[in-house]
């Protein structure tokens, strides 16, 4: 039997959240707006209208390119990509063909086994690092949207002309889990840069995997690690299948897994899968044929004559490079190292840049207050992160308010022992069944009683003291009850 190795490359579209659209002054934020309420002659493609490129969108594409380790082309240009479709009002899309803004980058990820799981054990940090190459990053315009209603199809041009970045990877993936992990990382990076919401459901991030399966004729030969091999060292399959209409990371995984199985089955039968574009049906979790190679477009690319070529000067490029923030992976490593946080918690925290910043601000303010106070609470960073992640405290609090709350929660409680004694006695008497359970050996039952006591005390008691007093009171009630029994 042959071995089969999936070969997967990705095309990812990300809508930029610039103020205005790519080539006109209309607002770029089109989500949930009244249809055709934010368009003008330019994004409607009316006769005579001309595109004027959005500098911010170009800047952000360079920023993303640099962040992904790409080389930035000093000279770049726009091209026209022709095809007929009702949502494309000019009959061509302004895109980039042979001189994209950025090329040849990479993104390295810590991959945990084949399936990434958030582990509580920080020793799991040392995982395999995988590098996925970025083929190019380019800028284009989004199209309008078709809305099908019964027999009618309506067009909404609000989205037409919204800046869209396309990121194309090399075919460096060999499983759906890596793809998912890569996409999640890319999403977080894009959000860190503040250039897009990268929201799959709103369509501001869209994915198109290209999937094929490669046969290794000799099963005994070692399977090479594709991501580490130069592209010339092995041959890509003679076909590829592009899957469209995927709007969640879960679906991308399902689609890829379905395709790998479908294509492998064909290969095992000695057939070569057709080169085609397939859609994904999320209800049935299957892909279906949309367009075959024979129907493939000839896009007739040529340089966009309405926009002069762009020449980027070094000063500007350097300025943009300075805008690259600390990236999620670096932040994660720093959090684990500097704050001795659990890897899993630091991971969750660093997925969100705002939350990470909030944490750091709370932490540093707390540090100052803590050093001034007599209490000198230890290991507070982990406690703070617990409070943030478990939603124990509202994240809408100001830093100062949050810090005060944290101090309140972490400070050892001054316990009113007289009140506590009375409360415990009452709880023991009203929960005889639970007390008996505890006495008969159900150790966990004590926690229920602790909870009851804490509630009565409105949290104003130290948990350790509560447990100790509960235990001793139950002990003594034990003595009493045996005496009564004897009576």
């Amino acid at each position: 039997m042959n071995n089969y190795i999936p070969v997967i490359g990705l095309e990812i579209h990300v809508e930029l959240k610039t103020k205005s659209k790519m080539f006109c002054g209309c607002p770029a934020d089109h989500f949930a707006k009244k249809p055709n309420s934010i368009c003008c002659p330019v994004c409607l493609g009316l006769p005579g209208a001309l595109p004027v490129p959005n500098k911010k969108a170009i800047e952000w594409t360079i920023l993303l390119g640099k962040t992904l380790g790409c080389a930035i082309n000093k000279v770049s240009k726009f091209d026209r990509k022709h095809y007929f479709y009702p949502d494309l009002p000019k009959g061509y899309q302004i895109s980039q063909y042979d001189e994209p803004i950025a090329t040849k980058g990479k993104l390295s990820l810590q991959i945990q086994s084949s399936k990434f799981k958030v582990q509580n054990d920080s020793s799991k940090l040392k995982n395999e690092e995988k590098t996925f190459r970025i083929h190019r990053v380019h800028l284009e315009e989004d199209t309008g949207k078709l809305i099908h209603k019964g027999n009618e199809t309506l067009i909404d041009f609000n989205r037409s002309g919204v800046p869209l970045v396309e990121i194309v990877t090399e075919p460096d993936f060999d499983n759906a889990d890596d793809v998912k992990r890569f996409l999640e990382e890319l999403q977080v990076i894009v959000r860190y840069l503040g250039i897009s919401d990268a929201d799959m459901e709103k369509g501001s991030m869209r994915l198109e995997p290209n999937i094929s399966v490669r046969e290794i004729p000799n099963p005994k030969s070692q399977i090479p690690n594709i991501s580490k091999l130069p592209i010339t060292n092995y041959q890509l399959p003679k076909y590829k299948v592009e899957v469209k209409n995927i709007n969640s990371f879960r679906f991308v995984k399902q689609a890829i897994e379905y395709e790998i199985e479908r294509q492998t089955t064909l290969l095992e039968k000695g057939e070569t899968p057709k080169q085609e574009t397939r859609g994904f049906n999320s209800n049935k979790q299957i892909t279906y044929s949309q367009r075959s190679k024979e129907e493939a477009h000839d896009y007739r690319y040529f340089p966009e004559p309405d926009i002069p070529p762009m020449i980027f000067n070094d000063d500007w490029l350097k300025q943009i490079e300075k805008q690259i923030p600390e990236l999620p992976q670096a932040k994660l490593e720093r959090f684990v190292k500097d704050y001795s946080l659990k890897f899993s918690d630091a991971f969750i925290l660093t997925r969100d840049k705002k939350l990470s910043n909030y944490f750091e601000q709370v932490n540093s303010k707390f540090k100052i207050q803590n050093s001034k106070s007599k209490l000198k609470i230890k290991n507070y960073s982990q406690s703070i992160i617990n409070l943030i992640i478990n939603n124990k405290l509202s994240k809408t609090l100001t830093i100062g308010e949050f810090v005060n709350k944290v101090i309140e929660l972490l400070a050892p409680k001054e316990t009113d022992e007289k009140l506590l004694g009375a409360t415990i006695t009452r709880i023991i008497e009203t929960n005889k069944k639970v007390v008996d359970d505890y006495k008969s050996g159900k150790q966990n039952a004590i926690m229920f009683l602790v909870g009851q006591v804490m509630r009565e005390m409105k949290g104003k008691a130290d948990a350790k003291i509560v447990i100790n007093m509960l235990k001793s009171k139950i002990q003594s009630s034990n003595v009493r009850s045996s005496r009564f029994n004897r009576d």
């Binding site: 002659p41 493609g45 009316l46 006769p47 005579g48 209208a49 001309l50 595109p51 004027v52 490129p53 026209r80 022709h82 007929f84 009702p86 009002p89 000019k90 009959g91 061509y92 067009i155 000839d298 007739r300 690319y301 040529f302 004559p305 309405d306 926009i307 002069p308």
Partner: protein, 474 residues
């Protein structure tokens, strides 16, 4: 006094001196239109009521603000016409094609806006070869326009209606576009001054695109002064057109009187070899003598890649046309694609072919390289001379139908004009007299952004010859 035969300069003076009102000027043009339109077919749409309303407004303005208003609005009260390729808000814009026969733009082209702001009054939209495809006006879906100097003959295209309308006195100025010849050829065939400005000098925003990297926006007038005055208004950087250049616009009219003593004139020898009408050649030679009398120093110059210019043009231009016309797919507005005229279909097919994968390198890319060589020819020439002089057309205005069956022959009438568009240089047609009662034109080509100099040369030549005074008898 025949008001519609005045120049803009004369008309403005008359308005200032209250010899007549803008209302009278507009009515004179509208009367002329009524009188000659059946013969000429220069207009697709006539804006009669709108024009009269605007004229009355202009008269009120003048009454209220006095002569000073002409500083701000140099074309106040002047009736003009707009080629139907220019978007005009609330005024039907067809590009000469039945595909968008009912299209009413919701916005003005930048140039239209500027002209309106300058006080000009639009009397109508002029006929043209559909989409600007043609050199004779015969490719209009609204029927051909006729030459006011000889109704059997073409007025030159594609701004055919604009040429005929200005020459016959239906308006004082008309806009045009020049992608390969379309302002200069009708100017030459209608005894007018026509400017093809430097690419990037005038905004293309709102003008239905033909070939975007070639299209320039010019205009036709009776005199050099009127032409220079109009360019002062229309030229300049436009935030809606990324290809416009942020260069100051000189007051062209202020430099017209300057002497051209010592001007270095180049005569491109490649323009004097084959196919040129002998009478046209003689005419240009005497025009050159006239320029020498005015102080010009004449040198022969070579533009070695001239022979490839037409072939290059007819690969690159259709390529861009096929792209620009794709929006007219009949889905959102307009008629079905099958209603495109033969010439548009021909160009769409040619351009689609030359951009197709497998042919792109051999055609589009190669032609783009040759274009660079043609441009370099001009740049080299302008290291040696100030301007180049050539006939605008190798032939006289031809008879309607004469070349219609042979597109290649038709393309050749632009042989001296197209290379300039490949290079993006400015060029001006100025009348150089008549042969057998038919107008002929001289072309003055300069380096980029040298419009000021072109107007100076043309003004001196016009002063000496005054051919503009010969109006058509229609």
């Amino acid at each position: 006094m025949n008001l519609s035969n005045l120049t803009i300069k004369e008309a403005t003076l008359g308005l200032k001196k209250k010899k007549f009102s803008s209302n009278q000027l507009v009515k004179a043009c509208l009367d002329k239109i009524k009188k000659v339109e059946k013969k000429l077919n220069a207009f697709i749409t006539i804006n009669e009521n709108g024009a009269i309303d605007q004229a009355n407004n202009c008269d009120l303005y003048f009454k209220k603000f006095g002569e000073g208003i002409f500083e701000k609005k140099p074309l106040l009260g002047i009736p003009i016409a707009i080629k139907d390729l220019f978007s005009t808000k609330d005024l039907k814009t067809t590009a000469g094609s039945i595909i968008i026969n009912k299209y009413i733009p919701p916005f003005d082209a930048t140039v239209v806006k500027k002209l309106k702001n300058a006080g000009a009054i639009i009397v109508g939209k002029t006929n043209e070869d559909a989409w600007g495809h043609g050199s004779s006006g015969e490719n209009s879906d609204h029927g051909p326009t006729r030459n006011p100097y000889n109704l059997e003959r073409v007025p030159g295209g594609s701004s055919s209606g604009s040429g005929a309308a200005v020459a016959s006195g239906e308006c004082f100025m008309a806009t045009g576009t020049d992608t390969g010849s379309s302002v200069r050829l009708p100017a030459a065939y209608c005894n007018l001054v026509g400017i093809k400005p430097t690419y990037g000098r005038v905004s293309r925003y709102g003008i239905i695109a033909m070939a975007s990297s070639f299209d320039t926006v010019g205009h036709l007038t009776k005199t050099v002064y009127d032409n220079a005055l109009t360019l002062e208004i229309t030229a300049g950087k436009d935030s809606y057109d990324a290809t416009t250049v942020p260069k100051d616009v000189p007051k062209y009219t202020h430099y017209l009187e300057k002497s051209i003593e010592g001007l270095k004139i180049g005569i491109p020898e490649e323009y004097f070899i084959s196919g040129i009408d002998e009478k046209v050649e003689n005419k240009i030679l005497s025009a050159i003598k006239q320029l020498q009398k005015l102080g010009g120093k004449v040198n022969k110059i070579s533009l070695p890649h001239t022979e490839y210019a037409m072939a290059t043009y007819y690969i690159l231009v259709p390529s861009e046309i096929s792209s620009n016309l794709s929006k007219f797919d009949g889905i959102r507005y307009g008629d079905e694609r099958e209603l495109f005229g033969d010439e548009a279909k021909r160009r769409i097919m040619l351009g689609t072919y030359t951009l197709s994968s497998g042919y792109y390198d051999a055609y589009y890319l190669k032609a783009a390289k040759v274009r660079t060589l043609v441009k370099r020819d001009f740049e080299e020439a302008f290291k040696k001379v100030d301007v180049l002089i050539a006939p605008s057309s190798p032939t006289l205005p031809f008879k309607i139908g004469e070349k219609a069956a042979d597109p290649l022959q038709m393309y050749l009438s632009d042989i001296f004009l197209c290379p300039v568009n490949l290079a993006g240089m400015p060029s001006l047609n100025v009348p150089m007299g008549f042969i057998d009662g038919l107008p002929v034109g001289m072309q003055i080509i300069g380096q980029q952004f040298s419009e000021k100099l072109l107007y100076q040369v043309a003004y001196k030549y016009e002063e000496a010859t005054q051919y503009y005074k010969i109006s058509p008898k229609i």
